[in-house]
């Protein structure tokens, strides 16, 4: 496709698809291959793209109605009995709304529940701040034992959805609504907790998660043209963080820029800062929402307004280089 970036020859753009569609496809596939997988949804089947699973395995699907608290508890009960429940609703209702249910009945009780959260972040768009959670990564990563994954595109979301069935323990899988460039190869092996180096570089390490990987890649195209050598790393698993990869890169470049569709407080940037400050302190710039709520708008407009545009990544890298 013409959108492909010359800085990323191994990661050409193969289309534009929504990460939630990747979840739907992954759920259907893992439902076929693993009969322990059950799915629950709080009245958002179409939004979460769960139709294919439901059609293939109606007996293993639980429509929960608009009852997210009960959904988390029922999922914990199904997991107790040996099933692998995947819960589906918007990120806001998957986390903040049911935090104590997740904390007590799932995380503290070590239940093998996969909390699958769509419509995360600003790119939910027109529905506005009531539905655009920007605090969910922080909320979930603070829970002991919780794995937190925010895939970057359709293929990675599909791969992650399949991979988490094989991981015993609670998982928070965060994805989104809009169509978004697909850059990960279909056959790329997804490993929980292992970051992916998309491009090596020497001047700055750009760590990006979720939709922001594309912003970081597009920014890199400009930065390279300006003579700045960027190392671009996709951190799909925010917890457990790939500390070894982070430190290897940071020791080489000496500078960090983090990119996430999340509040700057408590997200990927803080996770990476924590590792660096302890092991190898370096200048760091955050591309993240500056401790605010979102609002209604088109995804692209919102990303620009809230400092998550491609130009914002470029500016953050230049600020970091200048420090």
């Amino acid at each position: 496709m013409s959108d492909s970036l010359s800085s990323f020859p191994k990661f050409p753009v193969t289309g534009k698809k929504a990460t939630r569609d990747g979840f739907g496809a992954g759920l259907a596939e893992v439902g076929d291959s693993n009969d322990k997988v059950v799915a629950l949804c709080a009245d958002l089947v179409g939004s979460l793209k769960m139709e294919a699973f439901i059609e293939a395995h109606p007996e293993r699907f639980f429509q929960m109605g608009i009852s997210e608290a009960n959904m988390m508890g029922v999922a914990a009960g199904l997991a107790t009995a040996g099933h692998i429940p995947y819960t589906g609703t918007f990120a806001n209702f998957s986390t903040g709304r049911v935090y104590d249910q997740i904390r007590q009945s799932i995380a503290y009780s070590d239940k093998n529940v996969k909390i699958c959260a769509s419509h995360a972040g600003l790119t939910l768009g027109e529905d506005g701040a009531t539905h655009q959670i920007l605090e969910d990564i922080g909320l979930m990563k603070m829970l002991p034992g919780m794995t937190v994954i925010n895939p970057c595109d359709y293929n990675q979301t599909k791969q992650a959805t399949i991979a988490i069935a094989e991981h015993h323990g609670p998982v928070y899988l965060r994805f989104g609504r809009p169509n978004w460039p697909v850059v990960m190869p279909e056959d790329y092996e997804f490993v929980i907790g292992k970051g992916i180096v998309l491009k090596e570089g020497t001047d700055v390490s750009i760590f990006a998660t979720g939709h922001m990987l594309w912003q970081a890649m597009a920014a890199t195209e400009q930065l390279e043209a300006d003579g700045i050598s960027c190392e671009v790393i996709n951190i799909h698993t925010i917890k457990p963080l790939d500390e070894e990869l982070v430190l290897r890169s940071v020791r080489k470049t000496g500078r960090v820029v983090t990119c996430e569709e999340h509040n700057r407080i408590g997200g990927l940037g803080d996770a990476i800062a924590q590792v660096c400050v302890k092991n190898h302190p370096v200048p760091q710039e955050y591309v993240a929402v500056d401790d605010s709520f979102g609002e209604s708008g088109k995804p692209e407009e919102l990303l620009e307004k809230y400092g998550l545009g491609i130009d914002d990544v470029v500016a953050a890298v230049k600020r970091c280089i200048g420090r």
């Binding site: 059950v38 007996e59 293993r60 639980f62 929960m64 109605g65 009852s67 608290a69 009960n70 988390m72 508890g73 029922v74 999922a75 914990a76 009960g77 199904l78 997991a79 107790t80 009995a81 040996g82 099933h83 429940p85 104590d100 249910q101 904390r103 007590q104 009945s105 503290y108 009780s109 070590d110 239940k111």
Partner: protein, 280 residues
């Protein structure tokens, strides 16, 4: 199954265990524990098919979830007395490093506990999930869940009630400890529950009532409840109890919800409870 007199004697020892655990550490919740002692004795020593070697999944077994986790000294006594762990471990109740945490958890690996409870309103949903799993797995055993009456003030309870009806969980029995007491006073004064059974009936459940401090009546009611299998409805039992049942000075109001007896009070309490099975 133990006979009536044996069950009553077991319940008396369980009550001693409750008082001694709470008195031993100086904290805990004796009131509701004593009130529900007869029910848990009936379940664990009479009604439920269960395996003290403990398997988390509970396949082929009846499982019990105690949503009102604060009455943990009762749960621990019954689990220990039925062989899940050594009764001597009751002495570690609420102590640092103990598996017998203030509220029951799976985190320390205590056999018999399947989920952490005590943050109210959540256990019924978890139990409903286990009942749904039994349906899915073709497992014809039962799921029992105990909930407090104050707990009925939590919205999640009613989400779970809708779910139980929708999925026709006729393998699921929810028992509500209707002692009319909660921390801040009588339920009528704190947040009036009115007719609890009428609410569950309106949510599509089969409802029953029982005197929860009458072993004979408890056994008969649980038997009648189990006979309702196949009707496609989950079952709700409004269980009337007296908080503090078995210890006269604890049976007045809500004062003993979460308070430990002092040395003299402990002596008085234990004098009212015969040591039937041997203290730990």
């Amino acid at each position: 199954m133990a006979n009536l007199q044996e069950l009553q004697r077991t319940a008396t020892q369980v009550r001693r265990d409750i008082v001694r655990q709470v008195a031993g550490i100086g904290t805990g919740h004796p009131g509701g524990s004593l009130g529900c002692a007869d029910l848990l004795t009936a379940l664990y020593f009479g009604v439920m098919k269960h395996d003290p070697s403990f398997n988390m999944e509970g396949k082929g077994e009846d499982v019990f979830i105690m949503s009102n986790g604060h009455i943990s000294p009762l749960f621990y006594s019954v689990l220990a007395r039925s062989g899940y762990f050594d009764v001597a471990e009751l002495d570690s109740f609420r102590r640092m490093g103990s598996r017998l945490q203030g509220h029951p958890t799976t985190h320390e690996g205590l056999p018999g506990v399947r989920v952490a409870t005590g943050s109210l309103g959540q256990g019924i949903s978890v139990a409903a999930g286990m009942a749904a799993a039994k349906k899915l797995d073709g497992d014809d055993r039962w799921v029992f869940c105990l909930t407090g009456d104050g707990e009925q003030q939590e919205g999640q309870v009613w989400e779970a009630a809708l779910f139980g009806h929708m999925y026709k969980l006729d393998n699921f029995i929810v028992i509500c400890d209707r002692n009319h007491q909660q921390i801040d006073g009588a339920t009528e004064d704190v947040m009036d529950l009115m007719d609890v059974s009428a609410k569950w009936a309106a949510f599509g459940w089969h409802t029953m009532k029982v005197d929860g401090n009458n072993m004979e009546e408890l056994l008969a009611t649980l038997k009648a409840a189990k006979a309702l299998r196949g009707h496609g409805k989950p079952i709700f039992i409004e269980m009337h109890t007296t908080m503090g049942s078995g210890v006269d000075f604890m049976m007045k109001g809500h004062a003993w919800h979460g308070k430990a007896p002092d040395v003299e009070q402990t002596k008085t309490a234990l004098a009212q409870l015969e040591e039937t099975l041997g203290d730990y």
